[in-house]
């Protein structure tokens, strides 16, 4: 079930009359007039609800000699809600693209010829800049404080602030003046 189908079905089910129609159809297939009598609603109202249910894929119709019969689409209701929630959102890819575009924009704004022009004040932008600098450090390797300072100085003169911020952002760790990049 797609996200759109799930939304359409849940919207359709959020009505007591439609829920009662489905409960009736769960017992047996029925036609409009029978449902109207059973649920004390006009046939026109029942037809209105049947159209909504059919559009949401909850019921199907078939013709007999005298009536149009409606039956419950049982397979639709066998789907687990957890499966619907667990499905990757259609929005996810679009959101990832937007995030990547924003990230590049920040990098282009704050870096020039590989050097940091200024340290961003806004935390979100500073994080992106620090992650970019962190790429200069190999994973799984340790560095002395002197080595760290030299590497950071390639990007910006204020290596102390950047070193401290990388630690507080969790991009690097330190113990006994030995540094390493966080996995």
């Amino acid at each position: 079930m797609t996200e759109a189908q799930a939304i359409a079905l849940f919207k359709c089910l959020s009505d007591k009359s439609r829920l009662q129609i489905l409960k009736s159809l769960a017992k047996e297939d029925m036609y409009v007039e029978r449902l109207a009598e059973r649920l004390n609603l006009t046939p026109a109202t029942i037809s209105f609800h049947m159209k909504k249910l059919a559009d949401a894929g909850a019921v199907t119709a078939y013709r007999t000699q005298y009536y149009t019969m409606y039956s419950l689409c049982r397979e639709v209701f066998m789907a687990r809600i957890m499966d619907v929630i667990g499905t990757e959102s259609d929005e996810a890819e679009l959101q990832a693209q937007r995030d990547a575009a924003y990230r590049q924009k920040v990098i282009d704004s704050f870096f020039e010829y590989g050097r940091l022009k200024s340290i961003p004040a806004q935390r979100k932008k500073k994080r992106i800049v620090l992650e970019e600098i962190a790429k200069a450090f190999e994973k799984g390797r340790t560095y002395t404080e002197r080595e760290i300072n030299i590497l950071i100085a390639d990007f910006h003169d204020d290596f102390c602030t950047i070193r401290r911020d990388m630690i507080s952002e969790g991009l690097m760790e330190r113990e006994n003046s030995i540094y390493w990049r966080t996995e």
Partner: protein, 124 residues
Amino acid sequence: MNENWVEVMNHYFMQKKAACEKQRQRCRADLRDDEAVFAQIRGNVYDAFAAVFSAALRQGAKDEEKARQFFLDKLAQIPRNWQTALDQARQHGDDTRALLEQIKLETAQEIETMFRSVTEVETP
């Protein structure tokens, strides 16, 4: 003609509007939002024609026949748009819109039947 036809009609409109509002609230409370809308539409039609009835009485202030005819003319004229909308909705397979227009037309028809019975005018 019922001598108290003005009073009877006013009472009729008041009762019907109150019943529709009660129905609307009951449906909302019962999580039947679509049917609440249907009740509201019916109530709106009663409300609209109650206003037209008041206008008819003002038009024919000293002339009952003038007032009656004014109201009958409006009962014929106003639903014409709804009929057109119903025909278009059916043409385009818009079942929802068709049902809403049908509700308005049925309510207008009921008002006309009531008015004619109270004023003892034969339905054409």
